[in-house]
């Protein structure tokens, strides 16, 4: 039963890392390219199952990949960072996708916290076994 905490704990940690990445993406949704012409690229976490030696399965963030989609091009000739044609290069973050990602991550986070609470209650009752 103690293993439940490490399994759900790993999931909670992975989901919170996913939330971090989502926050970073949403924060940079409108970022424009710097002088080097490189704009912010959306980042995504890659989850991987992490088997424990006794048959359980935790989860970990195997890597954080950068979205290879083309950056957004917006026509804004008055902007100081606009290029010769009047276009502005923005990040390739899809805000709608990120919002969905955020909701999914927060739901999964809650689920795993609930699992830990249930396990905690059961363990506490197990500790009182044979008393009373």
């Amino acid at each position: 039963m103690m293993k439940v905490f490490s399994i759900s704990g790993s999931a909670v940690s992975a989901q919170s890392q996913r939330l971090n990445v989502v926050a970073s993406n949403i924060a940079n949704a409108e970022s424009v390219a710097g002088p080097d012409g490189q704009s912010y690229r959306a980042r995504q976490v890659v989850f991987q199952s992490m088997p424990t030696p006794d048959g359980g399965a935790g989860v970990r963030v195997a890597s954080v990949i950068e979205d290879s989609a083309a950056p957004k091009r917006v026509y804004e000739p008055g902007h100081p960072m606009a290029d010769a044609e009047g276009y502005l290069t923005q990040s390739n973050v899809n805000v709608v996708e990120e919002m969905v990602n955020m909701m999914s991550a927060s739901r999964s986070y809650q689920n795993n916290v609930e699992v830990m609470n249930t396990a905690r209650q059961l363990l506490l009752k197990t500790l009182q076994m044979g008393q009373s």
Partner: protein, 149 residues
């Protein structure tokens, strides 16, 4: 003699260990609800309990001298599992885990049905607690017999 006295306790103790094991497996499924290509796993509780208590039909008290659970390792690449070869009673081996059949296929190959897993988890938690109460009841019965109240 002592075996007779604690026969019922023994059975419920083994059942409790299996419940805890299943709780862990289900927690793993819930933890991996967003992992691509993860296959949800579970084990046949009835069969595992029958094996752990050494009785063909799970439901009665354990037979004395029940054989401990151990899964044969016929290949060097097989997982070692809980028992580590010795297989303590009431412990299920990792190789005994089965993959759940997905009701709805997903694009990322994940076969965890979160609703089902949560229902199973809640069900298992209640049964674990029921096992605890059985044990507490047996202990109380034994104590009152010892004290002669």
């Amino acid at each position: 003699m002592g075996n007779r006295l604690t026969e019922a306790l023994d059975f419920h103790g083994r059942a409790l260990l299996l419940r805890a094991e299943r709780q862990k497996v289900l927690a793993g499924n819930i933890a991996n609800a967003d992992t691509p290509r993860f296959a949800a796993r579970d084990f046949d509780f009835k069969a595992a309990l029958a094996e752990a208590t050494g009785s063909p039909a799970a439901g009665g008290p354990a037979r004395p001298g029940a054989a401990p659970v151990s899964v044969a390792q016929t290949h060097a690449g097989h997982l070692r599992g809980t028992g580590g070869g010795t297989g303590g009673p009431g412990r299920v081996d990792a190789t005994a885990l089965r993959y759940r059949v997905a009701e709805q296929p997903t694009l990322d190959g994940n076969s965890v049905d979160l609703d089902r897993e949560r229902a199973n988890f809640a069900d298992n938690a209640v049964r674990y607690e029921a096992g605890l109460r059985f044990i507490n009841g047996s202990v109380r019965t034994l104590l009152s017999a010892i004290r002669g109240e």
